[in-house]
């Protein structure tokens, strides 16, 4: 099967992501959902998440650059990011969000900025992996459907 090597690659990627806590159980749930509801679900969710996270992180950056930081908004954004990341199983990102919220609640601007950097870093890494994952999936699908035809 032409897609076999790609599938192997995808499997490895996912395994490593799990091992490194980029992903957690929730992602496995999503995988199961994909099996049940058909391909594309994961890709869609992941893409949604990436877009959303990117936006929130930018927003946070803006908020934290203000002379007077509105911690309420910062908190709300972080909360949101936490919600979405935990919904897709992005464990590390979610964990940093928790940290972020803590410093935010203390109105600790420095702490927030540091946390934001960390989130940025985690998210970027995750994002790359997700992108790879989606690409692999797509390629696999293409190959598989060709094969079937």
């Amino acid at each position: 099967m032409a897609s076999a090597p790609l599938k192997a690659q995808l499997t490895d990627l996912l395994n490593s992501m799990f091992a490194m806590d980029f992903l957690d159980e929730q992602f496995k749930e999503l995988q199961m959902l994909e099996e049940a509801s058909g391909p594309g679900f994961l890709a869609e969710v992941v893409t949604l998440f990436c877009g959303d996270a990117e936006r929130i992180i930018s927003q946070l950056s803006v908020l934290l650059n203000e002379p007077v930081v509105d911690f309420g908004k910062v908190d709300a954004n972080v909360h949101q990011l936490k919600g979405s990341s935990s919904s897709v199983g992005a464990k590390r990102v979610a964990l940093v969000c928790v940290k972020f919220r803590n410093v935010c609640q203390e109105n600790d601007k420095e702490g927030c900025i540091a946390a934001l950097h960390e989130i940025r870093h985690e998210f970027d890494e995750l994002h790359k992996k997700f992108q790879t994952m989606v690409q692999l999936e797509q390629q696999i699908q293409v190959l598989d459907s060709k094969q079937m035809n």
Partner: protein, 639 residues
């Protein structure tokens, strides 16, 4: 369980769930999971839209799943409203697992509280809440009632003839049976549907015995469903008695609904009080409660036979055209013996008060006037949520008056302001839903919020007994609710929201196609939503992103507008799946919704991601059959 449920054998498949969350990712994931559970899912990213959906057809959903933190409305508030208005089980969700927050959820009446990320297993169990609630309600009614007999079934009360269910017009048992049967047949998941349908029946109808107990004449009484009409009667009674004096027994007597028990009333009253309390921040025992709540009309405006007319609501709902209002006022004044001329009833302009100051005016510095300034601007302090019964409105008005004396309302045309000294200053126009319509409790405040009388379309659901307010303004004085029903056509414009939708009164609104939402005109026809993007706190953005991503990913939604709404509108989201063949309609419908807590949030109404359940072949049949009926949408834009 319903007979149908049992027969179906598919239970709990077909459970209709409405999911509300500002996070598109969560919505997407939950939707998929719920579909996996074989439930029917509708998603919404805005609380306002969710409320609109729910109000539109109360039968449509069995259960609501809502996030706690949402930009347009606090999840707890939504929870309360749903519990109060629709009495559906609500499950809260949040990434926030703090005990105190969870506790808050429970206190607000949540059936359950799930911590995100929500897992499949948890979702698989949510049907239990629906069943449990239904059963316990039945049991409660059972214990409480005992006098409700079938014979009363066909009593032609206001609510009896009202059709707030799609096809569920009749109170007659035969008809109902037929409907029931047909509904069962029509709907694949008949179990849910019929149970739902029953749920929405009026008390009388429910007496039919088509309840879980399946024994019509048994002492097991179906739970009382507080239909719009029934609630209106309730509110009227409360207003008549005065919120402080409203005791269940007396309310019951006033309502004069056969089969209704004191306990039913008591529990509803309790909820209602909580609701008011939260709305206005005024406790039940607030001494300053304005007269409107008190039965006897203040000297100021003797509404006389008119009884309780909540003009404001009426107007707000657009049920009363400005001209009618003027006439009405005149009538009122005449009737009341008040010789004061009707001042120009301009929206937002002070009116000369007729008669001695009422308690209302006492409270408000502005002396005589019934400054009914309805501020379309939505900064109504207490969330002028959609459910402004007279009491609410009065309360809110009071507060508002105190706060904003002369806010001029952006008005929708001329809003005749009754000369009551009631200064209504809701920041948003409240479009009374059928509920409101019935709540014309005017006592001394006839505040009319002019509404954009939109959509002539009549939602069938909207038809409450008192829906026709406008039609015969002249009649108002002499009638009580029933005359108010004249609103009829006007009324139906707002049908979509059975609750009241808060509509920013905008001049443009009068009876035309554009439905003005808070602060912005939403012209459904054009799918224009002028809400600035930034108004949406996060949500819109998310939606945007989501939409974009989705588009990129797999959807072909045409997002013609920058705002999310447009995107949403154009996407084939059918709120209830199959029903909405017309996206426009849907959008409109959704947009009509209720301005949530912020009320003033401009056009939050826009249809956010409302996705239809993927497989709802029979959605239309469900009590929500209204959905298919364009008229039900109220703002059809085709006014």
């Amino acid at each position: 369980m319903d007979r149908a449920d049992v027969d179906e054998g598919q239970f709990p498949a077909g459970l209709r769930v409405l999911v509300v969350d500002d996070d598109v990712i969560v919505l997407r994931v939950l939707k998929t999971m719920l579909l996996q559970c074989r439930y029917e899912v509708t998603t919404c990213s805005q609380a306002a839209t969710a409320l609109a959906l729910l109000r539109e057809s109360k039968d449509t959903y069995h259960l609501v799943l809502s996030d706690v933190h949402m930009p347009d409305m606090d999840g707890f508030k939504l929870l309360e409203l749903v519990g109060l208005e629709m009495d559906l089980p609500v499950i809260m969700m949040s990434a926030d697992a703090r005990t105190n927050i969870v506790m808050k959820g429970i206190k607000h009446g949540a059936c359950d509280y799930l911590i995100k990320p929500v897992r499949m297993e948890e979702l698989k169990n949510i049907w239990q809440h629906v069943v449990r609630k239904k059963w316990s309600d039945n049991n409660r009614d059972l214990e409480n009632s005992g006098s409700f007999e079938e014979s009363d079934r066909n009593i032609p009360n206001n609510n009896v003839n009202i059709n707030n269910n799609t096809n569920n017009n009749s109170n007659k048992r035969v008809a109902e049976d037929a409907e029931y049967a047909s509904s069962v047949n029509e709907d694949g998941s008949g179990g849910w549907k019929s149970s739902q349908k029953k749920k929405r029946c009026t008390v009388k109808e429910e007496e039919e015995g088509e309840t879980e107990s399946a024994d019509p004449s048994s002492s097991k009484k179906p739970r009382v469903v507080w239909s719009v009409e029934l609630h209106q009667q309730f509110v009227n009674a409360v207003n008549q008695l005065g919120i402080e004096k409203a005791v269940p027994k007396r309310i019951l007597e006033l309502m004069n609904v056969p089969g209704l028990t004191r306990e039913n009333v008591a529990s509803h009253l309790q909820k209602f009080r909580l609701y008011l309390k939260r709305l206005s921040g005024v406790t039940q025992h607030h001494p300053g409660l304005p007269n409107p709540f008190c039965g006897p009309v203040s000297t100021n405006i003797k509404t006389g036979p008119l009884g309780r007319l909540d003009f404001e609501t009426l107007v707000a709902s657009g049920h009363i055209p400005p001209q009618a209002l003027a006439v009405l006022e005149e009538e009122l004044l005449t009737q009341n013996g008040s010789k004061q001329p009707i001042r120009e009833i301009a929206f937002g302009q002070p009116l000369v008060k007729c008669g001695p100051p009422t308690s209302l005016t006492r409270q408000f510095p502005q002396s005589n006037l019934s400054n009914i300034t309805i501020n379309p601007s939505l900064d109504m302090p207490p969330s002028f949520s959609n459910w402004p019964s007279n009491n609410d409105i009065a309360q809110i008005m009071h507060q508002q008056q105190q706060q904003q004396q002369q806010q001029v309302v952006g008005s929708v045309g001329s809003v005749p302001q009754p000369n009551a000294s009631l200064n209504v200053q809701p920041s948003c126009l409240v479009i009374p839903s059928s509920q409101q319509m019935n709540n014309f409790q005017v006592s001394d405040n006839a505040i009319l919020a002019s509404q954009s009388q939109q959509s002539p379309s009549q939602g069938s659901g909207f038809q409450t007994g008192s829906s026709t307010l406008v039609q015969s303004p002249m009649m108002l004085p002499s009638q009580s609710l029933s005359s108010l029903q004249g609103m009829g056509s006007a009324n139906q414009n707002f049908q979509i929201n059975q609750g009241s939708s808060i509509i920013a009164s905008q001049p443009s609104i009068s009876g035309n196609s554009s439905y003005t939402t808070v602060g912005s005109v939403v012209d459904y026809n054009n799918n224009l939503i002028s809400t600035p993007k930034n108004l949406r706190f996060g949500v819109g953005q998310i939606v945007d992103e989501g939409l974009k991503t989705m588009t990129a990913a797999s959807n072909n939604n045409s997002f013609s507008m920058p705002g999310m709404m447009s995107g949403m509108m154009n996407s084939g989201v059918a709120v209830s799946g199959a029903l909405m063949s017309d996206n426009n309609r849907q959008v409109r419908r959704n947009n009509l919704g209720f301005v949530g807590k912020g009320t003033c949030l401009p056009s939050r109404f826009a249809m956010d991601e409302i996705e239809s359940p993927t497989n709802l072949p029979n959605f239309s049949q469900i009590g929500g059959g209204d959905l298919v009926n364009p008229e039900n949408f109220g703002l059809d834009g085709q006014i």
